[in-house]
Each structure stands twice: as structure tokens, then as C-alpha cells.
Symmetry: C3
Subunit: 138 residues, 3 copies
């Protein structure tokens, strides 16, 4: 059984959006008891990560680390058409994930207790982001 | 045909564990001749990588690089509940992989000659780590 | 339905190769209308990324960023058998992707408008690189 679901996320500039429940809903709708859910983000300046979901400080620290590692306005970058955060957004994407495959067991994503799936918006302005969830199961 | 297998790895603090053979055993048990094996780690402070498996110096150098890139005790970090290595472990996770999908052909993982699949423990203390291997095949 | 396709790419030293059309061709050959295409690279010194495909400056900036982050000849590295770019190639691999799973809908990869799939050669000399594309679909 193969089932695709579409999700959209309205972002408000740089930051994290927990999409775990939205992806879980697609799995439930598919009826799969066992299988694989692959999440894909249709963009090159917003990406996916799996992260600790208990303490919001973890995401704040992650953002602080990434902002230091890939500074906005770095003079190394020549692709600056859309501003100081344009090329850093592409680099952040490449250092994180465009697709993540999560096993399904007993009709649920096999996430650890503290694992959440997050969309990470890397642009400083707001965007409408699109995800596809592909469920293969039985 | 869909088959899930569970693996656990007892780590002894920061370091690498070659899980290639354990994952291959799940594929063999599934009976799949062709398909996909997706490995998932249930944690946000230990992760998965594919790495050169011949010279142990490669992993030592990787660890040295990561320790320099994401220093323990970095004053940038505010999430320090579990110590100096707490937040660095989460960052290392985000920069590596939570899930890896490996094609299966002729009943085997299609790994290159020098490719090994490793669990990378990022905490300095020992942990019991859990993996799920999802095999979809025929 | 499960179908594997093999691709080879001849690289001319460090740089990017757009393999989107080659992967799409395997999907078309499989006949899948819906499903998942997982791309696997058989190497630990060349990797996969999804990147903006409109402006070549994005890839040039990416290469410049990576060269600064993981400098060739860094004295931190002890695994230098094959030269100054040997260990940096392994590190670049670990920071990017070995496998990427792309959903299929209407017989096509569900790529965003500006998304391309690239093989990134990390060695400074030319190599023959091998990919496997695993299609699971119906």
C-alpha cells in the first residue's frame, strides 16, 4: 500500500515548526500498521531535522550555533540576490536534511520519547512551505 | 513484504560502533532479495553515519573535527542540564543523520567496498541505544 | 513493484554533477506512478545534496563555504594517505548525505521548482562514481 499526503506550513521567518503530529496524521489516514513514512521538503532554504522536543532552549541553541557557523552577510558569499540570509539558508539546508524516512510499527511512527520532527525555516522572512509524506506499508 | 527489526547498542561514551553486520542480519532474516533497508536511531544525542571502514584513523579524525566544530562547554549554549556535552550532542545529531535508507540487491545491502554504517555516540557517558531497521522488499 | 537502477558519474575533481534527470529516467523506466525513489552513493568521499538549481553561484558559494569549514591539509588530520584532500573528503561526506529518498507522484519525482539533486565530488582528482536508485512504487 502506497499513500502520499501533502502538508503546508506557514512560517514567520527563521525558526522551528514541530510537524510530528501532522506527519503522524498522514500515517493514520494511510491505514498502514507497519512500513515507512518518508517526509520530503520541497525547498532549498528550509529543511528538516529530528530534535529533542522537551526543552525549547535546545532549538534556540541550535539556531544560535547555526547563525555563528553560517553568518548572514558573510563576504565569502556572492549569491546575495535575495539578501544577507539568501546563501546562508542554502548552506543550512545542505548541512541538515531534505528527506527523512521514519519506520512505522503498530500504526505509529517509531519515534523515541524525546524525538520531534521539525521544519526549520532558514529565511528571515515568512514563507509558505510544502511537504510531501510518502507512506509505504501494509 | 515489510519487515521491521530492532537492534540495541551499548555504548561506552563518545565513539563509533559499526552496525553494518547487524543491519545486514535483519535484511537476511527478512528474506528480501531486492528492496530498501531504512535504519532509524531513536535518539537525539547519538546518530548514524556512513564512513570509510578500513582505517580507524578516519573515525578518530572525524571525532577530532566534530569536537573542534562543536566544542563541549561552549558558552553559546544555554541548555546545559546534563553537562557540557549535552547541547553539543544535539548539534552533532542535527549535522549528521537520524535515518539512512540503503538499497538491497541480491539479498544484500548495496554498500561500496569501503562503506560501513556506524552509530556515533555523542554523549561522554555510556548509553543503551535503540535502532529500528525497516525492510521493504520482495 | 520494486526496481533498482544503476548510474555512474565520471567526475573531474571537486565539483557538482546534476543527476536529477538520470534519477528521473530510472523512475520512468520503473513505470511507478506513486512511490519512493531512494538514491544511494557507493562512496565515502563523494556525496549527495539537494540544492538550488538556477544560479551556479550557489554551488560555487557552497564549495567555498565547505573549503573554509573543512580545510585541505588541516594539521588536525592524521589520515592523510591519499593527500591533503583525503580526510576533508570524508568529513564533507558525513556533513552531507549518502542517501536521499524522494517521493514519486504522477510518475514523477516531487521536486520543488528550484530543487536539483547533485552528486558532490569531494576529491580533487577525477573519479568514477556509482549510484543505485531504488524505486518502490505501484
Amino acid at each position: 500500500m502506497i499513500h502520499n499526503g501533502e502538508l503546508t506550513v506557514a512560517t514567520a521567518g527563521r525558526g522551528f515548526h514541530d510537524v510530528t503530529k501532522d506527519v503522524a496524521r498522514v500515517v493514520t489516514a494511510s491505514g498502514a500498521r507497519i512500513g515507512l513514512a518518508t517526509v520530503w521538503i520541497h525547498h532549498t532554504s528550509a529543511s528538516l531535522i529530528v530534535c529533542e522536543n522537551a526543552d525549547p532552549a535546545v532549538r534556540r541553541d541550535l539556531e544560535a550555533f547555526m547563525a555563528r557557523l553560517v553568518p548572514d552577510g558573510d563576504r565569502l558569499f556572492t549569491h546575495t540576490d535575495e539578501g544577507d540570509d539568501d546563501m546562508p539558508a542554502h548552506v543550512r539546508n545542505v548541512l541538515t536534511q531534505t528527506s527523512i524516512g521514519i519506520p512505522i510499527a503498530d500504526g505509529r511512527l517509531v519515534l523515541g520519547t524525546w524525538q520531534g520532527l521539525y521544519l526549520w525555516e532558514h529565511r528571515t522572512s515568512s514563507h509558505r512551505r510544502r511537504l510531501t509524506v510518502s507512506v509505504i506499508g501494509e
